[in-house]
């Protein structure tokens, strides 16, 4: 029987991989995917806790809020990414120019 520990372990691994992707990202696409992974890790955790500690509507409400925020963030990121691409003709993350 799979307990809550299994889900927390999977969530932690997904969160770690998402954080690693975010920290080592060199382009905007990878940052968007990393955000999806981080939100997914939190959603797995919420679903597991809500399911194992009595199936109640609070978990559903929090999960729905997190999913809506995730999708809105993703949509905003994609739009800003397309806008950035049209101005600079690439999507690479660069170091800022040194101040003279």
């Amino acid at each position: 029987m799979t307990g809550i520990n299994y889900y927390i372990f999977i969530s932690a691994l997904v969160f770690g991989l998402g954080l690693y992707t975010l920290l080592t990202a060199k382009d905007a696409f990878r940052i968007l995917i990393a955000f999806v992974m981080l939100f997914s890790a939190s959603v797995i955790n919420i679903a597991a806790f809500s399911s194992f500690w009595g199936f109640n509507p609070e978990g559903q409400i929090i999960m729905f809020s997190v999913t809506v925020v995730c999708l809105l963030t993703l949509a905003a990121g994609i739009i800003l990414f397309v806008k950035n691409f049209r101005i600079y003709k690439n999507n690479l993350i660069k170091e800022p120019d040194p101040v003279e």
């Binding site: 799979t2 969160f15 690693y20 696409f29």
Partner: protein, 158 residues
Amino acid sequence: MKDILFYIFASITLLSAMYIAFSVKSGSSVKALPYFITGLAGFFVLLNFHLFSLLSVLILLILFSGIVLFRNRISHYVVEASETFKVNIVSLIITGILTAIFAGLPGAAKWPQFDITLGANSLALIFTKYIAAILGIGFLVSVIISAGYNILKNEAAE
């Protein structure tokens, strides 16, 4: 049966997540994302969250069709970095330790009962307790609408 399904979905999720994290090309990461969401939808079914599983499958369908329909456009937007990625083992270990600590925190808190009333006359509650969340969502929606309008206006001008 449920255990076997859990291990199948866990392996799909983790393998695709590792592929996303360690693949050299960003295009490969985008292609691995639908598999990641497949594993996520499987977890939701196992945890009796059927509505969210359906939502994940819908996102999956939109993502798949978007990748297939706009593959030329996506490949146009994906500009690969010239230098190759190097895996830093120290940062990986530190990230893993921090993740383990943060993942243990909710377990230690033992999922406190949330003070949410689901009564019909809770309109005042929305404007007092959840004002920060409403403002955040409103800000995101305004960014999306204004940026989308700007892009459409520029396209019309071109």
